[in-house]
């Protein structure tokens, strides 16, 4: 899990890096993870795995996501948006 071991300080929001991180956490090939691929609808991710993704992202980016934001963390595009907002306001 090298991606999760990077320090939060070093993590900047690069979309392709985010794609690799999320694909690794979801255990799918990067090629399977298009911007609008639904984690749950298209990849069959269960709710527990979706939560693990949240934890991986929190660790990597040094942020704390609110449960109200989880429904948007269901595609790469949505995840990118949420993280952008979060990192801007941090």
């Amino acid at each position: 899990m090298t991606t999760t071991q990077e320090t939060a300080a070093a993590a900047v929001l690069d979309k392709e890096d985010l794609r690799r991180t999320v694909a690794h956490a979801l255990d799918v090939d990067v090629a399977e993870l298009a911007d609008d691929t639904g984690f749950i609808a298209d990849l069959g991710v269960d709710s527990l795995l979706a939560l693990e993704v949240v934890v991986v992202l929190e660790k990597k980016y040094g942020i704390r996501l609110e449960e109200s934001q989880f429904p948007r963390i269901t595609s790469l595009a949505g995840t990118y948006e949420v993280l952008s907002e979060k990192l801007r306001s941090a």
Binding site: M1, D27, D46, S47, L48, L49, L51, E52, V54, V55, E58, E67, F70
Partner: protein
């Protein structure tokens, strides 16, 4: 009941349904079947009056399947870690597990991805890592005595009465002996003493060279310590009513050394994150201060007991 096979909590035989065959991109695939019967020795304790084939025994069924259908030319393989495991629906006695295996060779060993299904659908998905070299036994070489005070001398926070008020597991699947220290909502330290009198050692011949404790039971034992942590303030040892704790998934579990009879495992677990009804827990297990098992993330979920019932599972 004699157990001439490997030291394992699973007695079911593995039937190789489709022998290993080379596929695309250097992958080798195979299929096995494992019939889970009411004779499995873990069932009386998992759980009394409500037998469920434990998740770790599903993993063990995959491990035994992998070893029964290894990639050609790989040589002797040993389990080095559970990179990911997800439990999708419960397995009950009477179920037959259909196991689809796919092997891929990597720089640090062989990976075996497995999909496990019962007649009701997908039961588990996992990826195991195997290496050729057997992990060293912790007890196999002479060790300097630990300078730290032996943890067994520490005052006990909780023994069997408290543990049995919190966990539904019973003999032979109650794999935590004592809680050393617990800070509810944060962390726990607990002990499990490994003995050659555990049922997994039944019938092992005197001359056997391998006495390693079943690896999946190390995982189970650590998970039970994690479960104690998760339920400390709100225990429910009844799997039939209320909210029950389910072992949903594990990621990044690595075995570092063998564990032998006589070893005392010290489990350490801490809560990474609580999200509603779900906890994410990380930790390790030590023998004489050295890690034998590390766990990046385990997911424990509280769900209504009805979700475990066969009828509910059938419609899930």
């Amino acid at each position: 009941m004699s157990r001439p096979g490997p030291i394992s909590p699973v007695v079911a035989a593995v039937e190789v349904v489709r022998p290993p065959a080379a596929g695309a991109e250097g992958r080798t695939s195979a299929a096995t079947a494992v019939a889970v019967t009411a004779d499995e020795p873990v069932l009386p304790g998992h759980y009394p009056g409500f037998p469920i084939f434990p998740g770790v025994c599903v993993i063990e069924s995959v491990r035994l399947s992998a070893l029964a259908a290894p990639p050609p030319g790989a040589g002797a393989l040993a389990l080095a870690g559970v990179e990911t495991a997800r439990f999708l629906s419960p397995v009950f006695p009477g179920d037959e597990l259909a196991v689809e295996l796919e092997w891929r060779e990597g720089a640090d060993g062989w990976r075996c991805t497995a999909e496990v299904a019962t007649g009701r659908g997908a039961a588990a998905r996992t990826r195991l890592r195997f290496t050729g070299a057997r992990p060293q036994a912790a007890g196999a070489q002479a060790r300097e005595p630990s300078t730290a005070a032996p943890s067994t001398a520490a005052p006990s926070t909780a023994g069997q009465p408290e543990i049995r008020r919190a966990l539904p597991h019973r003999f032979p699947m109650l794999l935590v002996d004592r809680v050393l220290d617990v800070l509810p909502g944060e962390r726990i330290a607990a002990l499990k003493a490994v003995s050659c009198n555990e049922p997994w050692y039944r019938g092992v011949p005197d001359g056997a060279g391998d006495w390693a404790y079943p690896q999946v039971l190390l995982m189970e034992s650590w998970c039970q310590a994690a479960g104690l942590l998760a339920t400390w303030d709100d225990p429910n040892p009844d799997v039939l009513t209320g909210r029950v704790m389910l072992f949903g998934a594990v990621t990044g579990l690595t075995y570092h050394r063998q564990v032998l009879p006589g070893d005392v495992l010290e489990h350490r677990a801490s809560i990474t994150r609580t999200l509603g009804d779900t906890l994410i827990i990380a930790g390790e297990s030590l023998v004489d201060g050295e890690p034998v098992l590390t766990v990046e993330s385990a997911v424990l979920a509280f769900r209504p007991a009805e979700e475990l019932r066969p009828a509910a599972a059938a419609t899930a």
